[in-house]
Structure formats: structure tokens, C-alpha cells
Symmetry: C2
């Protein structure tokens, strides 16, 4: 936990009182004392620092802080992610990793090779997926929670829902093995980017065609077959690299 995140309604003026795992983390892991300063952020809001004014060191732990959130809310990350719903254990890891890396919206969608049972996973309940996202933000010292959307039917998503949105993206990229690498994918365009990553075993041809019809370019991360969590991080990093280069070229 590299920043303490709290919801807007937890602040009373500049004062913040914690009495849950965050307080326990400050006491037991960070071993902070009264008078110490920690990074504090308002979820989906500004960040800054907090001075610890009071600590209860024995169970139940509690910590009180005087905060000064002077850094403006970070801009929404430029990358959105369309992800064929992965198995729950992998989704948990991906949620915290992409929250740490920075994404705007995560569209969890169905695909031919997604196991139906994955749609019953508890990680799709808001309390649980939000917790994984917050842990990623706490790691990365960021405050903006990615939006999560679930679309358990492929065709209504790609035709009715995403169709009208697709044109808003300067780049639409579909990860697919064995096709030209990302470096060739129209990298000079500015603006938001959407990245679609398939299930284990990949998208089926029908799905690839549907995405192509919406202007998606396919790209490959190389000849090696990666697990979905590795592929998500690698694709995000390659894309960030391209966007950095674009920014410098612009």
C-alpha cells in the first residue's frame, strides 16, 4: 500500500479516520507513528498527504489523519480494455495489475472460448472486483478507479453496444497470434485507444471478423503464446511505449 485511499464521504473536512484493513496496514506493515506523514488520496479525486494525528496500536486498530489533498485528480488513462472474461483467479490478478498500470474502462465480454461458469464467479460482484481494483491503485499511487462493464453476450456487445462507441477511439487494436506486430498498427494517431484481448485459445474467426468490421487492427505480441495475464500487461506496456513515442513525435 503506497497510498491510503478513502472515499469522499469518509473525509470530514480534512480529517480522515480509518478503522479497517488500511489502519491495520499502517500499524502492522508500515509501522507508522503519530506525527508521520503518508500519501493519501480521495478515490476518483485528488491526492496529497496526511499527517497521522492519532493511532490506536492495539486491536481494533484505528488511525486518524489530517490531510491536505493538493494534487489534482489524474486524467483518465488513455487505454480502455476489452477482455474476454478470464477464469476468476486470473481475473483477480488482472484487475489489480491493470488498475496499477492505468486503464479507463474494462469491458468484460463473452467469447466462444469463455467457459460459461466464469460468469458466475464472485469476483464479478462489485464489492469484490472493486477491492482488487483499489489494491492496484494503492500499489500504483493512483486514485482513479477503472470503470468495469460486463457484457455476457458477444454479439449484442459488438454490434449494438460497442458499434457506436468504436468510432470514438483513435486506435482499435485486437490481440491475435501470428499477425503483424503492434508496431505496424497506425501508431501515429492521437487520442483514446481500445485494446481487445481474447480468451485462452484466442478469438474464433467470427469474433475477429466482427472486430475488424468495427475498424480494429489485429496485432501480435510475437510468436510465443502467453497466458492472458501476461499478455494483458505486455500489450498495455507496448501500447504505452507507442503512445509515449507518439507524444514525443507530436
Amino acid at each position: 500500500m503506497n497510498i491510503v485511499l478513502a472515499a469522499k464521504e469518509e473525509f470530514i473536512g480534512n480529517r480522515l479516520r480509518l478503522a479497517d484493513r488500511r489502519a491495520e496496514h499502517i500499524v502492522k506493515i508500515l509501522k507508522n507513528k503519530e506525527g508521520d506523514t503518508v500519501k493519501v488520496g480521495q478515490i476518483d479525486g485528488p491526492k496529497g498527504i496526511g499527517v497521522i494525528t492519532k493511532i490506536q496500536l492495539c486491536y481494533p486498530f484505528s488511525v486518524e489523519l489530517d490531510t491536505a489533498l493538493t494534487e489534482p485528480t489524474e486524467p483518465r488513462p488513455l487505454i480502455d480494455l476489452i477482455l474476454a472474461l478470464p477464469r476468476p483467479i486470473m481475473l483477480r490478478r488482472i484487475l489489480s495489475q491493470v488498475a496499477a498500470l492505468g486503464v479507463g474502462t474494462i469491458f468484460l465480454i463473452n467469447s466462444n472460448r469463455v467457459e460459461k461458469s466464469f460468469w458466475q464467479a464472485t469476483v464479478l460482484e462489485q464489492d469484490e472486483y472493486r477491492d482488487h481494483l483499489l489494491r492496484g491503485l494503492e500499489q500504483a499511487v493512483a486514485t482513479r478507479v477503472p470503470e468495469v462493464q460486463m457484457h455476457p453476450r458477444f454479439r449484442p456487445f459488438v454490434e449494438d453496444y460497442f458499434g457506436p462507441l468504436a468510432v470514438l477511439y483513435a486506435q482499435r487494436l485486437l490481440a491475435h497470434p501470428g499477425l503483424p506486430s503492434i508496431a505496424e498498427g497506425g501508431k501515429k494517431e492521437q487520442g483514446r485507444v481500445v485494446l481487445a484481448i481474447g480468451p485462452e485459445g484466442g478469438w474464433v474467426d467470427y469474433e475477429v471478423e466482427k472486430f475488424k468490421a468495427l475498424g480494429f487492427c489485429t496485432f501480435s505480441l510475437g510468436t510465443r503464446i502467453l497466458k492472458v495475464d501476461t499478455a494483458v500487461v505486455a500489450a498495455h506496456a507496448r501500447l504505452s511505449c507507442m503512445l509515449d513515442l507518439d507524444g514525443k513525435n507530436a
Copy 2:
């Protein structure tokens, strides 16, 4: 398991007999039958296909294959990794992920912020770390096992051991927060690349200076603080992106 990997001495001519977790995986997960074809590779050698000639479907599982390894051994990946020894649970994940992504040598080294107890972890025993590497290769359909070296003392590694090697690398990159991004790090040079990634909390100043003295350029993956496993994958991907671009520019 996207390829069956076996050591050279397991092959009798073109015939291969499996009676361990690989056979169990073929029977229970892949559900292959006699006459089916699977991908087969010789560890650190060529790859190709194998036709299943005999399956014992009940415990203890065994599978016999006639193989034809016609694809040449892949070249050694261009990227080597210097990694401050991470906690064991994270090292396991990193080993299989970097084997999947492709690295030549992994130098596991000490650093001021590495906990001493990590050097006692069972994952540093060859049987165990090799297993994680092989699982990464099985995922990625690759055969070349990364070399793993352990250097439990920082200064002898950086001064005596790595000093003479450093000049062999066209690029030497040190991940360090808040400094210029990788895109600026002399990206036009060809040849092998070594990437150094620090512990949780980062390298200390002394360590950064030692690496700089060996010609390492520092780079940052951005303002967000990433977990070591996320950082390794992201840095590898950014570097691969740059190497691809170089290849195309060359």
C-alpha cells in the same frame, strides 16, 4: 501446456515415452487419443510434432509418441535480466513469465532492500526453479531454457563479475522510478540488451551509481509504482517493442 518438452536423453531415436505429469496432462486436460498429433520439443533443442502411438488411460498414465523435430532450435532471446531477488512467491511467477516472454540469462542478485531470508527459499534450488521455467516454455511453445545465475553479494557481482561482461551489451538499462522513460535510452543500437530491475522499494543510490558506472541508462515505466512481477513483464514488453522497431528501422 501448448508443447510437450522432453530432455534429449528421453528420446530413443524418434520415440518418446512419457509417464509423469506430461502424460497425465495429455490424458486428462488435452484429452488426446491415439493417432492425435501434438507439438513436441527437445529442451534446448529443435521442435516439431509427435504422433501419439499408445496411451494408457488409467493410472499410472503413460503416453508414447513418434516424433519429428524438424524446426531448428530457436535463437537465444536478445534480452538478459538482472533481478534483485524478489520474494519467493513472486519469483515463481516471474520465472515462468519471463521464460514465456523469452530471456537469455536471469541474474538473481542481492540488493540493499532484498530480505536476507529470500536467499534461503526452496525456489532457488535447481529442480524447483527449472520446473517454473519449463512451465513458461510449455506455455509459450519454446524450448530454450533461460540460464539462471545467483549472486548473493551485490558488490562482487557488479564489480568483479558483471563489470567485464557489461561492455558486451549494446544496451544496458536500469529500471528506476521517476527518471526518463525507456523511449529515450539510446534505442537505435543493435545487439544484446540487459535489463536490471530492482526490489520492492527500488535500488538504493549506491546501487544506481554502481550500475551507471557500468554504462547503464536509467529508465522509468512511468509515474505509477508497479509490483516487481508487473514491472518485469511491462519492461520486457517495452523493450521488445523498441527492438522490433529497431529491427524495422535497420
